[in-house]
Symmetry: C2
Subunit: 125 residues, 2 copies
Amino acid sequence: MSQYEHTCLIRGDGGRTVRAVLDRICDKWTLLVVATLDQGRLRFTELQRLVPGISQRMLTLTLRHLERDGLVSRTAYPEVPPRVEYALTPMGRSLIPPALALAGWAVEHHAQIQESRAAYGPQAE
Amino acid sequence: MSQYEHTCLIRGDGGRTVRAVLDRICDKWTLLVVATLDQGRLRFTELQRLVPGISQRMLTLTLRHLERDGLVSRTAYPEVPPRVEYALTPMGRSLIPPALALAGWAVEHHAQIQESRAAYGPQAE
DNA sequence: CCGCATCCACCACGATACTG
DNA sequence: CAGTATCGTGGTGGATGCGG
């Protein structure tokens, strides 16, 4: 059995299902936030510190989307000053292993891609 | 050993490495084109037929990027009418398993995400 | 048949300022 | 502390038409 038979998983209904989900988790920050939250419950500011470069706005939006999609739970404590904690749901945690697989590939082939790009790029851009 | 220790792979240098690679393979079509090419060498038009909804422009751009990054090889036959075939390189093929892992997750949790989104959405947007 | 060029709409994202 | 509001920008992607 060749592995390509499995790719029907991706192509499936023409890729609509996969694309729909991928379009959500493949934005600029989602994967990074999810990976960071694997450490446990974190507050808004802690997240902002642990994900270098993310803006308040993007962190808010990313967390809202993750919450809406059921990957992250949000707990607000009615205190002064306010405190909000974010944590992965079980479904959120289930995303970690596949995400790691992709991240591992990325790290492993990063250099090779750069090489290839450099060899290709001299003529234009 | 908890699995979260592995997430340093993702967070690593602040996520720059992973993000750089992910930003390339997580655009709208790349993963789908790679998955489709796992079937073997394909011509431009065949690809366009096998990836429903993709425009000529996007297919061209996606293939150029994949070629530049060393994931896809392009072979043009100097014939009339012209014929061009695309195929995965070894590095391209190595992307299939991690991509499948993510795709599997997507298919498996798609319904659950939709549910969650529906339950969240009534109030706004 | 293959694929590039042009025009255009949209939205992801960043910076900044303000609120409870 | 944890956001929301607003503005501006670049890149992504769709439609169409032309060229080798």
